[in-house]
Symmetry: C2
Subunit: 410 residues, 2 copies
């Protein structure tokens, strides 16, 4: 007989789990060059101004702007060229009255000068003299000290996921090391007397392990480090010792449960004995995925997934993904990619439960249509053939053909 | 004096580059478990049917459906229980007339049976006999052989990027190795007499290297393996020998050019001498990023980026990203994440050029607004402070405040 589930909506179930976890984030100090897509766990301000010297944005002549005032093609300003500012070095001379110095894009504006005349707006008279054919304003074609970022200016908040341009911005200021969230190690244990490793040819009644690989993929995409712990028999002692050992060297334990009611109870029993408080949620108002187990054992979160491939993916998306981001210091996981589409068929549901339905996306008459792929939640290929999922919310009893729906891509 | 650019629109420039490349894709054979986010370069069909035996989707009794026809709570069908189908094994007996066998979710349906009665719809009379309280139809609560996928059915086309569920689907069929595109090795050379490594304190007139890191990040996100080749002086011989060496062990060469006109010519000269045909595009109708160099040297693509951080990112996004996907067998790169937003200010442009403007996204009165961040393209922090880019198309002379625009996130 099935046990009575105390079934919580997914959002509430997640809250119950999070409430049992320490708010502390495990961190590590890494090279900025290696920190792409990591979550920054420090608040950074600019240690110095950028640029640290005024720079030219053009190839041309650094001048005192007022020496060019009124200059035109017919009435040019005459300037004396005192030298060339070499790239990557300073300049010993000061640009004085009616003087100019050759500068290149990115080069330093020498003392005395406050603007740059583009080379195209000048005419060379001889090696030492030029005509300026158009006036420049003070600051024209110049990047001022601190124009990019000023010393002490806030750069990043804690919880920022580092993008390619952020690495560049940090390097520009000489911040070559950063404190980021440690990547959570996710131990994945598959159970089931019928489950065999993929490289083995299944005998009669046997199936190959699927969930270890789908869950590892999801964990990796959420910043986790998957640890594949193999397949454990549906036996309390075996499962208990395998999961206890797995938790020792992991930050999160995922048990892909056997799919029958008896083996579901096994996961809950094991979680209750692995550490305190044990199971905190047993059963979630979601389909597929109702027989989900959420637990915490001595500070480490444990997720018991239903054995069906589709249920396992849906539940891992609802709980493992936000959990991994939360362990990396993010209150809200990064938004998954979504598109809006027209629903091609009705989806029936019942209120009081979130339903997740896989859909294929089809472009028809320049309109994106979401075609539900109905199929038993045991079928891995309904996931393979779909491009995303549609959620029927808790308070809805279904979605109608022709409705605009949000499709979360995966 | 600046050279005359033969300026092509970005799409055409990319086509010129692609036309010079071999259509062949370099591949490697990898473990499916390690193939997340890799591009599959083979067409796969199912080597066998899945499941390979009929499975129960419920805990209950495997029966001959017709033996239950007409059964109700008041007039149940009486069946004789001949045994239990163990998980992961076959069953030696055949279910005959008025017989039943205990089955668990995921277990095998024994010979003779064609449906499963849920345990909740039965009543136990004694160890060997049950009452069935509701009829089942043939096939009810059963996954038929091949219901997930049939032997010979197409699974994936070449060019598919492998997702977590795809790995699971492959493993389910015992496909533990796959042929995927090799990850292109991207050698990144920074040039500039003013550029110093980030760990060094810049002297007067010097700046730290930024582009090596932003480009490495972009390359990694596009499936490439960045190889950081350091900073090379603005000198033909130095650049030539450094890039020739870099190309030897890379599939793509990116030169982040010095920003002055003279050093831009340097990149083009070097590319023309590294191999045939050399430079194929010099100058692109894009802002920022006009002085882009695209070349092919003995079959290997070379991209000469403008030195400014923003220009370098824009140009790498337009050319390096699709190039890397193309080298991995994708004609079209995967869609970048986009959102629609209301433009908060006018953006001026000119026709005949694509303009890319960084924007910050701000939620105001439940409406997403895109606020352009105007700034010289030399400023890395305009990229850091923005969440995406808006493109002003080739044939437009600007976008208006209040317009709905597509923002490509980065």
């Amino acid at each position: 007989m099935p046990e009575m589930f105390q079934v919580l909506p997914p959002v509430e179930a997640l809250k119950v789990l999070f409430d049992q976890l320490s708010p502390n984030v495990m961190t590590e100090n890494v090279d900025t060059a290696e920190a792409l897509d990591r979550v920054l766990i420090e608040k950074l301000t600019a240690p110095s101004s950028l640029p640290s010297f005024p720079r030219s944005t053009m190839d041309g002549y650094a001048v005192r702007a007022k020496d060019t005032f009124g200059a035109t093609e017919s009435l040019p300003a005459y300037l004396n060229v005192i030298g060339e500012v070499p790239m990557g070095r300073g300049f010993e001379l000061e640009v004085g009255l009616a003087q100019a110095a050759i500068v290149y894009t990115g080069g330093m504006i020498p003392p005395g000068a406050d603007a740059v005349v583009m080379v195209e707006r000048t005419q060379k008279l001889d090696a030492k003299n030029i005509e300026v054919l158009r006036a420049v304003a003070p600051g024209e074609n110049v990047i001022e000290v601190g124009e990019d970022v000023k010393e002490g200016e806030p750069l990043f908040d804690s919880g920022h996921i580092l993008r390619p341009q952020d690495l560049g911005g940090l390097m520009a200021l000489g911040i070559t090391k950063v404190t980021v969230a440690a990547r959570p190690r996710v131990a994945i244990v598959s159970t089931g007397d019928e489950v065999v490793p993929p490289e083995q040819t299944p005998g009669l009644g046997q199936v190959r392990d699927v969930n270890t690989y789908t869950i590892a993929g999801l964990a990796a995409r959420s910043g986790g480090i998957p640890q594949q712990k193999g397949i454990i028999r549906d036996d309390y002692d075996c499962l208990f010792s395998a999961t206890r050992e797995a938790l020792d060297t992991a930050d999160v334990l995922v048990v892909s449960a056997g799919s029958s009611v008896s083996t579901r109870d096994l996961t809950a029993d094991v979680v209750n004995n692995l550490g305190k408080p044990g199971v905190v949620v047993h059963g979630v108002a979601v389909r597929p995925g109702k027989p989900t187990v959420l637990g915490v054992c001595n500070g480490k979160p444990v997720i018991g997934l239903p054995g069906n491939p589709v249920s396992a993916m849906v539940v891992a998306g609802l709980f493992l993904v936000p959990l991994l981001w939360r362990l990396q210091g993010l209150v809200k996981p990064p938004a998954r990619q979504r598109v809006t589409a027209i629903l091609a068929h009705n989806i029936a549901s019942v209120t009081g439960r979130e339903d997740f339905v896989q859909v294929r996306l089809v472009e028809r008459e320049s309109e994106l249509r979401a075609e539900p792929i109905f199929g038993k939640s045991n079928l891995i290929y309904t996931l393979v053939k779909s491009e995303g999922m549609v959620c029927v919310p808790l308070d809805s009893n279904g979605l109608h053909k022709g409705e605009r729906v949000e499709v979360e891509l995966f």
